[in-house]
Symmetry: C2
Subunit: 339 residues, 2 copies
DNA sequence: GATGAACTATGATAACGATAAAAGAAATAG
DNA sequence: CTATTTCTTTTATCGTTATCATAGTTCATC
C-alpha cells in the first residue's frame, strides 16, 4: 500500500504535485511530471486511503441504508423478499456511482444514528419509517436523506420521500374483488402503521364505495404480531366460511395464507380468493399464480439513490416527493363469482 | 459533531486523558476526571470519527463481502434468493459484532480488490470464487479472508473455506430418484465450474453407482448462459419424453422448470419428477412442494463471519475448513415409480 | 529594455480527528 | 528521601487535502 508521500519522495517532488496529478489537475502540472507520476501510480498500484481522504475532506463517500427492524422478526432482514429486492436495487445503484453502501439494521434508532454519525455518512436512505422515529432522525441528522416507504405526520414533512400509491393499490385490488362479485372480504396486514395502514385505507375506501364496510363488523382484519402468525393463520382458517376473498397487504402474506389454507383442503380460488401486493417472485411461483398489485422495486431503489446523490452533490431537487405507480396484475387466484 | 479536542479544551485537560476515558483505561485516569469527561460525552453525544480513528490505527473496522457477478445476470444480485439470504446472514452476524459491512459486487475482480484496498478493509468474505480469481486475490490481498462456496485448485489452498457437501447433496438427491425407480434423469445447472460442477459430480456418481451414466449419452445436461434460460427451458420441454426426472443444481432452476413444464401441460411429478438444491423459500411455496437438498444458509453466513473475525483478531484457527452438512428433504415433487 | 501583471510549475506547511509513545508532575509508599 | 505508583501532558504520526507562498516564464506597456 504505497502512499502519496512515498511516491513524492521517490520522484523527489512534493506531495502537492502528486496529489494534483491524482486529481487530474493537468493545468497545474507539467506533462513530464504527470507522466512520471502516472508511471509510479501504475507501477505500485496506488489507491487512495479513503480514511485519510475522508478525514481531510470531512465526508465519507458512504451512503447508508437504514432500516428499523424488530430483532426477533427481522433477524435476517434481507432474507425477506421485498426488503432484499429493495436493498439489492439500492446496492446496485450505489455501486454504479462513486459511493459505497453501508447497511444499518437495528431495532434501535439511536444506534442507527450513532453509526451514521461515527462514519460521517454523506447521505441516508431510510426504509419504512414512521412517526416518532422520523422526528428523532430529522432532529439529529442534518445531511441529505431520502425516506422510502415512509408515512409520517405533517410536522416532519419537507424531506424527499419515495413512495408508492399504496392506498390506490389496495383500492384497485379490493375493487377488482368486488367487481368479481365478492362481498365478504377480509384484510391481512403486518401492522397498523405506515405502509400497511395506508393499504388498509385503500381497502376500506373500496368497500365503502360499494356501500359495505361502513360498519366495523364488516372488516375482518388480521395483524400478526411477532410469532403470532401461526395463530393468525389458524384464526383465518377457522373463520374462513365468513368471507370469500382475502386482500393481503403483501405477497408474503398472500402466499403464506394461500398455502396454509390449501394445505388444509380449501380450494384457491374456488373456496377463497386471494389478492396480494408487491408482485414479487413468489407471486408467479405459487399456484394458482397470484393476482396482485405490481410495484417496481428496482425503480424505487434507483430513484431513492438518484435523488439522494443529487442532494449530496448540492443540487436542488425540483419536486419534493416521488410517488410511483402501481398496477393490478390479474392472474389466477381470484374467482369470478358472477360468471 | 464534537471532537476529543473540543472536549479536552472545554475541560481544560489534554486529549490523551479524554481518549483514555473513551477507551475505558480507568487505571490511568482519576475518578473525578472520568466523571467530568463522561458527562461531556453524554452531553454532547460524542461519537468517534471512524475515519480519523481508522487512519491512526491503520485499520477500518470494515468487513467486506465480495462477489463476482456477470453484469447482465446479477444486475440486482441480492434479489437472488440464495445470495440475498446468504448476504443477509452475513449482515446479521457482522451487525452483532463491532464491525461494519460493505458489499462489493462486480464482474471485475480488479475493481473489487481496489475497493478492498482503498477502504483498507480488515477482512474479506468471498462468495463463489474459483480458479484464476482466487489466485489473483490471494496474491494481492494479504489480510484475513474466508472463502464461501468456492472451489479452486490445490495451489491456492490454505485459506479458510466455508462450504457444503455439494457433491453429497446431488448424490443423495439422485440416489433418491433412482430408488424411486427413475432411470432417465436429466441434470440442470447454471454453469460448469465451482459449486455447480461439484453438484454435477455427485449426480454423476450416483448414476454410475447404479450402473448407468457410464456413457456420455446418458447425461442430459443443461447450462444456461445469460439470456438463454428461455431457450434452455424450451429444449428441456422439447426433450421431456426422454427422461422421467430432473435433478437441479438449485431450487431457483427447479422451481422455474417446474412451472414452465406444468404451465405447458406436464404434470409434476407424474410426468416429470423434480428435485432441487438449497431448500429456499420457494421450495415450500411451489406446488407440488419441492423435494430438495436442504442447506443451512444462516449457519454458513455465521460461520464465515465468526471465523473471519477470529482471524482479524489474531486468533489461530484450529481447522482449515468447514464443510456444512446437507440433508434430503422429501416433499411432493418426485413420483415413486415402483409403487 | 525596465516594470510589473499574468501564467506556469512547484513546494512548504498546517489542517482533519484520533492515537501512541514518551516524558513529566504529583501523590503515596517504603 | 529515594522509589514507585498514579495521573496528566507533550508531541509526533497516520495519509490526504487545501492554502499560501515562491520561483521562473512570458508578454504587453510605457
Amino acid at each position: 500500500m504505497i502512499t502519496i508521500k512515498e511516491i513524492a519522495d521517490e520522484l523527489g517532488i512534493s506531495t502537492t504535485t502528486v496529489n494534483n496529478v491524482i486529481h487530474g489537475k493537468t493545468k497545474e502540472v507539467s506533462k513530464a511530471t504527470i507522466e512520471k507520476v502516472e508511471k509510479m501510480i501504475a507501477k505500485y498500484e496506488y489507491v487512495p486511503n479513503m480514511n485519510a481522504r475522508n478525514l481531510a475532506q470531512n465526508r465519507s463517500k458512504i451512503i447508508a441504508v437504514a432500516m428499523k427492524a424488530r430483532k426477533d422478526k427481522y433477524e435476517n432482514a434481507i432474507k425477506d423478499s421485498y426488503v432484499g429486492e429493495l436493498i439489492g436495487a439500492i446496492e446496485k445503484s450505489v455501486r454504479t456511482s462513486e459511493y459505497f453502501l453501508m447497511i444499518y439494521i437495528s431495532d434501535d434508532i439511536g444506534e442507527i444514528l450513532k453509526n451514521v454519525s461515527t462514519w460521517n455518512v454523506d447521505g441516508l436512505i431510510l426504509l419504512g419509517m414512521s412517526g416518532d422515529d422520523s422526528v428523532m432522525i430529522k432532529k439529529k441528522f442534518k445531511k441529505p436523506m431520502v425516506f422510502v416507504d415512509s408515512y409520517f405526520c405533517q410536522d416532519v414533512m419537507g424531506y424527499y420521500n419515495v413512495g408508492l400509491e399504496d392506498a390506490k393499490g389496495t383500492y384497485e385490488a379490493t375493487k377488482y374483488l368486488l367487481e368479481c362479485g365478492h362481498r365478504k372480504i377480509a384484510f391481512l396486514a403486518d401492522n397498523c402503521v405506515g405502509v400497511d395502514h395506508e393499504r388498509f385505507i385503500g381497502y376500506k375506501r373500496a368497500l365503502q364505495e360499494y356501500g359495505i364496510g361502513c360498519r366495523e363488523e364488516d372488516f375482518f382484519v388480521m395483524m400478526p404480531a411477532e410469532n403470532e402468525i401461526e395463530a393468525c393463520l389458524d384464526e383465518l382458517y377457522h373463520y374462513s366460511e365468513q368471507y370469500t376473498a382475502l386482500c393481503c397487504a403483501s405477497d408474503y402474506y398472500a402466499v403464506m395464507v394461500m398455502n396454509y389454507l390449501s394445505d388444509r383442503g380449501k380450494i384457491i380460488p374456488d373456496d377463497i380468493s386471494v389478492v396480494g401486493f408487491d408482485d414479487n417472485a413468489s407471486a408467479t411461483i405459487v399456484r394458482p399464480a397470484l393476482t396482485t398489485i405490481h410495484q417496481d422495486v428496482t425503480k424505487k431503489g434507483e430513484v431513492a439513490v438518484e435523488k439522494l446523490l443529487k442532494m449530496v452533490n448540492g443540487e436542488e431537487l425540483e419536486e419534493e416527493n416521488m410517488i410511483l405507480p402501481v398496477k393490478l396484475v390479474v392472474r389466477d387466484s381470484v374467482k369470478k363469482m358472477n360468471q
